[in-house]
């Protein structure tokens, strides 16, 4: 495939990134999707929208998040210089709020009065419940029964924030099923309801819109790195479930040829174990949840159940822009297993005094693999996109400890 002039111009007017993306939704939703696309285009061009979003980002979310030189991890690796973009320090503890803040302002502009969302790890659910509380809107969060069990703290946080958490008992009872159920709600309540999708997936314009709201991560990181080091980073690393924190970091740097970019999928028990969430490594292009992208599926086009210790990465698909960046070769997609993530989780806690979420622990696992082999002046920038408080029960269980 020939490389395009820019990796940052997509999607086209039909929402396609190469052959990926698009709008594969039920007819009932199509008029609304088209309306959303127009409303977002208007907001994007409106300085007042950006001013309002900027105010909330500064005073409510707490941006910019710091860029932190992880000295002890760097020393531990004995190679490249490792930096963390500290998006786990945002209000609600992850990057998810960046997107929710943007979308709730858009929902208000569109006159919508009810908010729904899906959630896996619960981070997006908490972020959505948070902005819904802030703007006084009723909010329903769909969450798989399995995830409710393994992310209890986040479930209670959502309830405290006034959201209704609806357990999803169909299919694998995880993130993909929560998304099915949210789509069923949306198709039923299409007139008054705004669906805040939490990642760079779903029908156009969601993948581009969520990316745009998350792109603040990369924009800040570039400026901060220029201040700290006077140059661009050499390698970016981020974990990928749907891929919103990764797109948020990567997008700013896609047209910088000197910057290597690594996306880290969740290998689960191993890429060939049959218990994995690595859609690019082990999937095939397909159509699910409104877009064409790489999906874990069988030869008959039935969707496989994903597996990852991290509820936030436990999804059989990936954002369509990642599928495209994979096929054009701009981003290199690798993976880390449950065990590698668990090891990185503990190492980061002990060496840096930062308990990371299990999601970015996958990114860190990859950093721990590559940094020792890279020369000292090489700068690795990793997105530490969430904090690990929510994961302490899961990690304790994996380590065989009783709390």
């Amino acid at each position: 495939m020939a490389a395009p002039n820019s990796f940052r111009i997509g999607p086209d007017e039909r929402g396609h990134f190469g052959r990926f993306g698009g709008r594969f939704v039920a007819e009932t939703l199509m008029p609304l999707i088209l309306e959303l696309e127009k409303a977002y285009a208007r907001a994007k061009a409106d300085p007042a929208f950006h001013a309002e979003l900027g105010r909330y980002m500064t005073h409510y979310v707490g941006r910019p998040s710091p860029l932190y030189h992880a000295e002890r991890i760097t020393r531990h690796c004995g190679g490249a210089k490792v930096y963390f973009k500290r998006d786990e320090l945002n209000h609600t503890g992850a990057h998810k709020i960046n997107n929710c803040m943007g979308q709730i302002l858009l929902a208000q502009r569109m006159g919508k009065t009810r908010i729904i969302a899906e959630t896996g790890a619960g981070q997006h659910g908490v972020a959505t419940a948070t902005v819904a509380a802030l703007f006084g809107m009723p909010c329903v969060i769909y969450m798989g029964e399995v995830d409710i069990e393994r992310q209890k703290p986040n479930v209670f946080r959502m309830k405290l924030l006034g959201a209704e958490v609806r357990a999803v008992t169909s299919g694998s009872r995880t993130l993909k099923d929560a998304m099915n159920e949210a789509l069923r709600d949306w198709v039923t309540n299409v007139a008054d309801t705004y669906y805040i999708i939490g990642t760079v997936a779903g029908p156009h314009p969601y993948p581009a819109m969520v990316r745009d709201f998350q792109a603040v991560i990369g924009k800040e990181a570039r400026e901060q790195m220029m201040q700290a080091e006077g140059r661009l980073p050499d390698t970016l690393v981020a974990c990928i479930g749907g891929g919103s924190n990764a797109m948020g970091l990567f997008h700013e740097f896609l047209d910088e040829p000197s910057v290597r970019i690594h996306g880290v999928e969740a290998a689960g028990l191993g890429l060939d174990s049959g218990k994995t969430a690595a859609s690019l490594s082990r999937g095939q292009p397909g159509v699910l949840h409104g877009n064409r992208t790489y999906l874990l599926q069988d030869a008959d086009g039935q969707i496989d159940e994903a597996h990852s210790i991290s509820a936030g990465l436990d999804y059989p698909g990936i954002g369509p822009e990642h599928s495209w960046l994979h096929e054009v070769g701009r981003v290199e997609y690798v993976s880390a297993t449950d065990q590698e993530a668990l090891d990185a989780f503990q190492l980061c806690s002990r060496l840096e005094g930062i308990i990371p979420a299990l999601e970015p622990a996958h990114a860190l696992a990859h950093v721990l693999k590559i940094a020792p082999k890279l020369p000292k002046p090489h700068i690795v920038l990793m997105n530490l996109c969430g904090r690990g408080d929510k994961d302490v029960f899961t990690v304790a269980e994996a380590l065989g400890r009783k709390l």
Partner: protein, 271 residues
Amino acid sequence: MSARLSRRLARLAAERRKALVTFVMAGDPDSATCLEYVRKLPAAGADIIELGMPFTDPMADGPAVQAAGLRALAAGMTLDRTLDLVARFRKEDDDTPIVLMGYYNPIHRRGGKAFAQSASKAGIDGLILVDLPPEEADELLPDLRAAEIDLIRLATPTTDAKRLPAVLNGSSGFVYYVSITGTTGAAVPEVAPVGAQVARIKAATRLPVMVGFGIRDAARAEAIARVADGAVVGTALVQAIERAGADKAAAVSGITALVRELAKGVARASA
């Protein structure tokens, strides 16, 4: 354009009869039982048979149709077996049109051309894909046309006047009007607004308009068929299979009895 479907629609129009369109899930509760009751549907009064293609993630379906798809998948149903079921039905019935209904991914995985050719060979007449709106349908339409399979489009309460031409453009066979905003079997449609919407669609196309979602019994089928060209019933039928449980004979007799009832309702609307 499918010859079988156009012949059937022309005959219904000539006889001034409303159509009963029955939806069942291919392979529910297993392939052999499904073939047995599908064979009985025409005699029980089904004018057109919609056959669901089971899918793991049926986003637009309510609990009953979701469960039907899972039963079929658990019993080993695949796309090839669905086509085989139709081919076997065709050995005895070459008149009743069969329309496959489902989601795009299993067909995408197979490839449009390969699917269209084998579907046509099996005796499929039409295709309804819930998650392939007109905006994305160009990639499949030429293959379906070459195989003389109708792509039947869905119009919904949210399809406004501005959008309707885009939905109708490229559609053939009939138009499927989704009577409610919601999933299959979720709510019961009101007759008057459905009638108004059907009239609006009929003003824009010469294709017949069939109405589905939420039509549960003969009375509702009659009322809806009065204001449209036909009524589609699905959830109520797959629930008859669910109720029968392990009793295969009860599944067959239950579903045929229900179709006979529904057909009486639709016939009253024709009179």
